[in-house]
Amino acid sequence: MVNIEMETCRLTDYADLESYRANLQAKKTENKVITICCGTGCLAYGASKIGQSFKDEIKNQGLEGTVSVKFTGCQGFCERGPLVVIRPENILYQRVKPEDVSRIVTETIRNDLILDDLLYTIPSTNEKVRCEEDVPFYKKQLRLVFGTNGYIDPTSLDDYIQAGGYQALNKVLSSMSPDEVVDEIKISGLRGRGGGGFATGAKWEITREAPGELKYVICNCDEGDPGAFMDRSLMEGNPHSIIEGMVIAAYAVGARQGYIYIRNEYPVALKNSEIAIKKAEEKGLLGKNILGTGFDFSIKISRGGGAFVCGESTALMASIEGRTGEPRANYIHTSEKGLWERPTLLNNVETLANIPLIINKGAEWFYGIGTGNSKGTKIFSLVGKVHNTGLIEVPMGITLREIIYEIGGGIPGGKKFKAVQTGGPSGGCLPEEKLDLSVDFDELSRAGSMMGSGAMIVMDEDNCMVDIARYFLSFLEEESCGKCVPCREGLKRMRQILDRIIEGKGQDEDIELLIDLSESLTMGALCGLGGSAGNPVLSTIRHFKDEYVAHIQEKRCPAGVCKPLIRYYIVEANCNGCSLCIKECPADAISFQGKKQPVKLDQDKCTKCGACYDICRLNAVEVK
């Protein structure tokens, strides 16, 4: 069984690791592996029950030793969870229920029969798809970093080693000087995946050259961006790839101590990274005298308290030092003076997970993927109003249209696409005209949005762009640390103006005022939170000005979202008097008018909670 670790021996040199790997591969006896996704999404759909049933069933049917069951991290296609993939054929079963388990084992595992009803069906053609790689959601992806998630048990170091893990570390320590490693990363063109898109190699070089005996490497797994969960999923599903990246980085810049900064709200990521650190230490891949080379590097975990501003490097470091996470002026870069005033390399989870790949396959290979100044792939969380929500990894340069329509399967419910928001609270909303934009760092910024951490939130005609702008402002207002006036006061003022617009009290000069305030924030704020706070506002004004105008001049919310401007109505022709809505209405605003008669809605009592709209199965409630 792959799940059971081989004897705990320390690996003392390069050859040791390779023979250990060869041993693992030779020992592999089972010919089939059932992988069950146990990422947060699939767990919410009941994956853990299914996992246990599989284990029991395999035992009951006497298949232990020939078939193994493996719990993996998120495989990306969260929308169709719980996912079960049978390897090596990669047969993908989706929306699996506990009662399907024994059928799967009997039919598919024993008799090689495919259970059609569990396969994914392409909605437009009704065609059933057998293998993971043929599902349209996966087809257009290039899952270099994220793909391994589906093959390994995150708590097993052996699994990672068997899949080629720590080979890059071996190569670096045995045959490359730190300068050569830095050069390799520079040549690859890798840019930081956490937000700003700063050249990773250059960052490493600055840290390497900064004077000082003690240096640190920090992995940022705080993921404050609402709507993004790729860091969480990578840390949960493949923690060793990140640790390997960190050790290589430490070797390159000359650090002895590292930190993984994880949000406390991510308990599985915390647990799996703790296990991974411990196992890597036991094997001599981390800690003192790594692989017998005399190189020491250890990693501690630091738990974050969920403050968005800790995405700022200086705030994050303050938080690791046990202080409030307030940013400070960053005249001297943290690469030179960071944690405890010492040179510190701060990289994001996804950036670090790319490192072993670049070392193994070479900088040239990596440079060949992507566009002009954006190399490699990017993981996006594709969420919101789109059919196939989940995590996707695509080469830079793919268009938004391909992502939303081909991978994402388009907009559900026959609704019309309105906008896609990228880059989190610092980014912007892009309209339909921008769908053919090819996605990379520079193209997104040129269009007035940004890559950010990679949240991609799709919105349809039912989303109000003024409401979205207000949403981001109130989010940032709450998260601002309050240290500098433009951010503290400016955000508040902007939110008040948007509140006024939403209440139907907008004034003609409001749009100008919002633009003015956004610009002063950009100029006057101390850190990135305030500095980019205007982006969601500016981009919605730029692309959806007509919606602002409708709110201000016609006192109307075209999307039917802003409460003070909308009303709920009963469409009498559609209503059959089923009274579902009556039971649901908290305000007793709806009354029964007799059997098969349309119900009546009293506008004076209605609190506009929308419960009737949600519950009605006959589209008999309308919002205007």
Partner: protein, 156 residues
């Protein structure tokens, strides 16, 4: 929940020892204390400051800065409604409204019978399922207003 001073001190002391009394682990210590008491009572904050020999204001500022900490007692069941962008565009606001009306308290508050606390989060990292409500560490995805009653009843 009534916890006496001594048991609070005991819990704090153990946590401090676990982290070797290292003041840079303050955030983690507060998290561990809160994990046991569900909130940070005044005594726990005072005790940590004493034990670590750091100013009370520093502990207090950390405890109020991060949204993970609560200085008020919390209910038996915790309902965390995600208000992140992905959940927002799929109607998180409506779900929160409904929970608030059902329980007659606002987000951030606890019901009088100490049974439920409603909280909001900026993203719980399960965006594909939005809108998400985390009920006592269990994720409920694709929430709608009409599912609210069922999840509240399930807490019994």
């Amino acid at each position: 929940m009534s916890v006496n001073k001594d048991s609070i001190y005991n819990i704090v002391d153990e946590v401090v020892v676990k982290h070797n009394g290292d003041p840079s682990m303050l955030v983690a210590m507060l998290q561990d204390v809160q994990a046991q008491l569900y909130f940070l009572p005044r005594e726990s904050i005072v005790r940590i400051a004493e034990k670590l020999d750091i100013p009370l204001t520093r502990v207090y500022s950390v405890a109020t800065f991060f949204r993970a900490f609560s200085l008020k007692p919390r209910g038996k069941h915790n309902l965390k409604v995600c208000m992140g962008t992905a959940c927002h565009v799929r109607g998180a606001e409506k779900v929160l409204d409904k929970i608030e009306t059902e329980l007659c308290v606002c987000a951030g508050e606890t019901t009088k019978d100490m049974k439920y606390t409603i909280e909001t989060a900026n993203c719980v990292g399960a965006c594909a399922l939005g809108p998400v409500v985390v009920v006592d560490n269990e994720f409920v995805g694709q929430m709608t207003t009409d599912k609210v009653k069922t999840i509240l009843e399930k807490c019994n």
